[in-house]
Amino acid sequence: MPKQKLNPLPSAAFQILLTLAGEDLHGYGIMRQVAEQTGGRVRLGPGTLYSSLQTLLEAKLIKETEAHEDAKLGGERRRYYRLTSAGRKLACSESERLADLLRVARSRKILRGEYV
């Protein structure tokens, strides 16, 4: 079932995979990172965020690491999430698929700019 949920890969799940490519993050961190990398356009709500994380966990595209406190936020212990190799692979192939699309778009003069 998780496989079905991720095919095609929902935008939220892809964004989460991308945020985790750099470092391990907790939920709020992921949310902020997504907002940052989309210029504030995408703010994942808790429902969407955690259901996506759940799906990704079930599909073993990410995994939970040991919970610990965020030095900046302090106080509570938080669950952190890390990209698995399968997740990295999926993010990679999805990026390539998008890059292909981008090429097509540019060749059709829909999007200006250099071929990547």
């Binding site: 939920g27 703010r43 709500g45 429902g47 969407t48 259901s51 994380l53 509570e76 669950r79």
Partner: protein
């Protein structure tokens, strides 16, 4: 506060999700509300949360079900009926308690509704007590509580409409009532049904209407309208009754003439008083001294009589005679009718007889002039015929008591002290057509010998206008002044 609201909203998610991520979702909420302060950011936060809920809650539930469906299909190939619990944990004690309370509340509500809904109280049962205490004979009378007049019946019906909705509601469940038990309130009337009502109304008009020419004309108009199909645009009971009333008034603009629809079924017959009623009436009257509350001689030899109704002469003649005899030597009389709600015109006449030395005509808008319209004056041995009379009135003084006031005022026999009276001179009779339709029509209308209108609706104006509370004191002063002048 807002965190509590969000925690509550989180309960919308399936328990599986709440257990796994509920705490983290709350944590995220706390983080965001700590970082995003200010009105606009807060607004954006809540907009995010709500849109997130709207999108993700259904998805959470939606994704559970295919799994369960395939699970159940897999387990029961024979198609035996079975139940599946969607949540994977057992019900919490809170849920069990809440469900239990809800069930009990539903059970209690149903049983209460059933008890009240099934009970059927005929209208006659509601009316009878009023009968027994006020009215014992069938002669037309002013009586505020008798159910005879159209207005009173309408009031009774509208009262029971308000106070007894279960009764009305129960009518359809009275199959024993048969065809007559149909409710027209909202249902449309059949042609045959309308024709029957029109014919019945026409017959009543022909037989009873005060002016028989107009009565016939109205009956004809009703029938013609019915034949022409003017009533055909199908309508419910109240609208049909209003239409017929309007048709009758085209002939005679008589506002006492009405055809009414009653939601509550009318009793078979407006029950006449029985011997039992009469016995009860007699007993009540004896116990209450025929409503002669006080009969006293006061300083300056002023006679004071407080009378709270004009009871039936056949029952209370002796009491009335005794009361008047005890006042016979008074130099002035005060009739206190401030709490008098009316009664029998004959008692009005009987009492008034003591105030004249010759038969005097007492106008009664309900009855044409008869022998009874004249007082049986002079009364043997009576010395009150030339004594000053004061009548105390209030807004409660009603009906027959108003006749007493009105006639004594018009004859310039008494000084009225107090408030304008209630204004009850209804002169109609009520005729039942069927369970839901009835007519109020004026049957007799005596010619008023006075140029002034009678007291219907407007009441009787006192000669000395003071509040009912001050009326007695004022009347006593007036009487004293007058007696001193002598």
């Amino acid at each position: 506060m807002s965190e509590k609201i969000y925690a509550w909203l989180l309960r919308l998610y399936p328990s599986r999700f709440r257990e796994a991520y509920g705490e983290e979702a709350l944590q995220l909420f706390r983080d965001r509300s700590r970082d995003e302060t200010g009105f606009l950011l807060r607004l954006r936060l809540w907009a995010d949360l709500l849109s997130d809920l709207a999108v993700s809650v259904p998805r959470e539930y939606f994704h559970v079900q295919p799994g369960l469906a395939s699970f159940s299909a897999h387990l029961h190939p024979e198609g035996a009926p079975s139940f599946f619990v969607f949540a994977d944990e057992s019900l919490g004690p809170g849920a069990l308690f809440f469900g239990g309370m809800l069930s009990i509340a539903a059970l209690v509500t149903f049983s209460v509704l059933l008890n009240h809904g099934v009970k059927y109280v005929p209208l006659s049962a509601l009316i009878r007590p009023a009968h027994s205490s006020s009215k014992a004979r069938s002669s037309p009378s002013f009586d505020s509580s008798a159910p005879k007049t159209a207005n009173n019946s309408a009031e009774a019906a509208s009262e029971s409409k308000q106070s007894q909705p279960p009764e009305a509601a129960s009518t359809p469940s009275q199959p024993a009532k048969g065809a007559a038990g149909r409710v027209h309130g909202s249902a449309k009337l059949e042609v045959a049904e309308r024709r029957r009502i029109v014919n019945a109304a026409a017959a009543i008009l022909e037989k009873h209407y005060v002016d028989s020419d107009s009565g016939r004309k109205m009956a004809e108009v009703l029938r013609v309208h019915e034949k022409k199909g003017d009533d055909n645009q199908s309508m419910d009971g109240p609208a049909f009754a209003a239409l017929l009333t309007q048709q009758m008034r085209e002939v005679s603009p008589d506002r006492h003439l009405t055809l009414d629809y009653f939601e509550t079924p009318l009793p078979q017959q407006v029950a006449g008083p029985t011997a039992e009623d009469f016995a009860r009436y007699r007993e009540v009257m004896q116990r209450r001294n025929c409503t002669f509350e006080r009969v006293e001689i006061w300083p300056h030899n002023i006679g004071y009589l407080k009378l709270n109704s004009f009871p039936d002469v056949s029952v209370c003649q002796a009491t009335a005679q005794a009361a008047m005899a005890s006042l016979n030597n008074a130099d002035a009389i005060i009739f206190d009718l401030r709490d008098n709600r009316g009664g029998e015109p004959e008692m009005v006449s009987f009492m008034a007889a003591y105030l004249f030395d010759h038969p005097e005509y007492l106008y009664n808008p309900r009855e044409n002039t008869t022998e009874e319209s004249w007082t049986h004056s002079p009364v043997a041995g009576n010395k009150l015929a030339d004594k000053p009379v004061y009548v105390l009135t209030s807004g409660r003084t009603f009906s027959g008591a108003e006749q007493f006031c009105y006639d004594l005022k018009m004859l310039k026999r008494a000084t009225l002290v107090g408030e304008t009276t209630g204004g009850g001179a209804h002169s109609g009779a009520f005729h039942r057509i069927d369970e839901h339709f009835g007519m109020g029509i004026p049957e007799t209308k005596a010619i008023n010998p006075y140029s002034k209108a009678d007291w219907a609706e407007i009441g009787v104006e006192p000669d000395v206008k003071v509040s009912a509370a001050d009326a007695l004191e004022t009347a006593v002063k007036l009487a004293q002044t007058r007696l001193q002048k002598k």
